[in-house]
Symmetry: C2
Subunit: 230 residues, 2 copies
Amino acid sequence: MRRAGLSSQDVVAAAAELADEAGYQELTMGRVAQRLGIRVPSLYKHVDDLADLRRRVATQAVTELGEAVRDALQGRSGLDALTATLTTIRAYVTAHPGRYAATTGQQLTDPADPLVTASSRLLDSIAAMLRGYGIADTEMNHAIRTLRCTIHGYAALQAADGFQWSADADESFGWMIRFLDRGLRTMCLPPETPPASARDAREGAPDVPAPCHADRLAAAGDAAVSSQPG
Amino acid sequence: MRRAGLSSQDVVAAAAELADEAGYQELTMGRVAQRLGIRVPSLYKHVDDLADLRRRVATQAVTELGEAVRDALQGRSGLDALTATLTTIRAYVTAHPGRYAATTGQQLTDPADPLVTASSRLLDSIAAMLRGYGIADTEMNHAIRTLRCTIHGYAALQAADGFQWSADADESFGWMIRFLDRGLRTMCLPPETPPASARDAREGAPDVPAPCHADRLAAAGDAAVSSQPG
DNA sequence: AACGATGGCTAATCAGATTAGCTTTAAGAC
DNA sequence: GTCTTAAAGCTAATCTGATTAGCCATCGTT
């Protein structure tokens, strides 16, 4: 019989496409083999096992996403950069829900893992965006983590079920961007600075640490930040 | 042989405990049966199948979480209420990572589904928190969605790997709360209101819809908001 | 033309979910 | 007290999907 002549890359690519088209839960050895026109056991010549394949798909996703974000950030700063970042991520997750789904739930422990490397790059881009945004170094870790939560939450929800929340999803997305923008812009000013609004900031807030001084930064290159890609 | 005399509730409870203790990926019919001291096929007298069991665990989680948040919000408003909400959710997810993990990836389509009901209640609590926070009705949907993304992102990341991001996670959590607080307080003021900061808000922001007027609200009881629990 | 690594295959195994069908308990009807 | 019967368990069997073992063909190299 004629050989297909596949590489690991081909297998991962097929898996990624399959996940996007049929849903991440359909990313199975059988479906991948079928798509490639080979039998299931042959896949094991190219990947270790299903977990390995999933992890490679996740790595590809984070890599692609990181490149897209880096490209989108060229020459931008402030709200412009924030908008570009979120828009890019949203577009990516919309186009590749299965790939993004693969990234959720991956452990990032081994520093030599390509997935960890790719995640670090993505977070570096976000950090650069925030730095150009005027976030102080002392706040950087907190800001990255906060933004990461919001972005990951948005992306995870979107990847999970395509956001059926009706027609005004675009507006909500824009609102979210403006929300983040304002939060970032006011975050490093003294606590009293935000304009007196219709708000009663009670005194007895349960257990929030003191405002606006970040001690003990976990140093640079803090790979622990990226405990989860995206 | 002696009967165990189990109910569906017992099975779900055992599954929830198992998921918390051993991790969501260990939530398997075999492990659940083992924990209950019965054989695997007997489980099918109490639940339809594994998907049903998972969904019930998710429902229990969202219900418990909703009750906890509702309790925590008693007599609070503003930053106090926001802090209570997030602190409660964080505590719940920390105590019950497996349960929370069960909620991610559930579809919420059928309005009669108990999971949908429970999710709606939780979102109602969050809406009440925001309303008491001074968010206009026209912005409510956007605010809920935004907050939901951040909360879900935080919870999902935490449930996935327990947040190994080093020692200052608490500080980041506090920072995030203050960030959200400031964002919410400044969000419904005219765009120019936020104090001129070290920021250059460029003009050419890619594609964000116009600021601060929300048209076409998806009416009340908008179950589509809860496309994902938590 | 031989060769050796590579990529593919069949057959078999294993794990986990699910189904079929039987048996016994235990709760209520008489 | 017995009788009946639905519910709750069980064993055995099936099915799906992942994985392993071991064989064979292809292809680039010598």
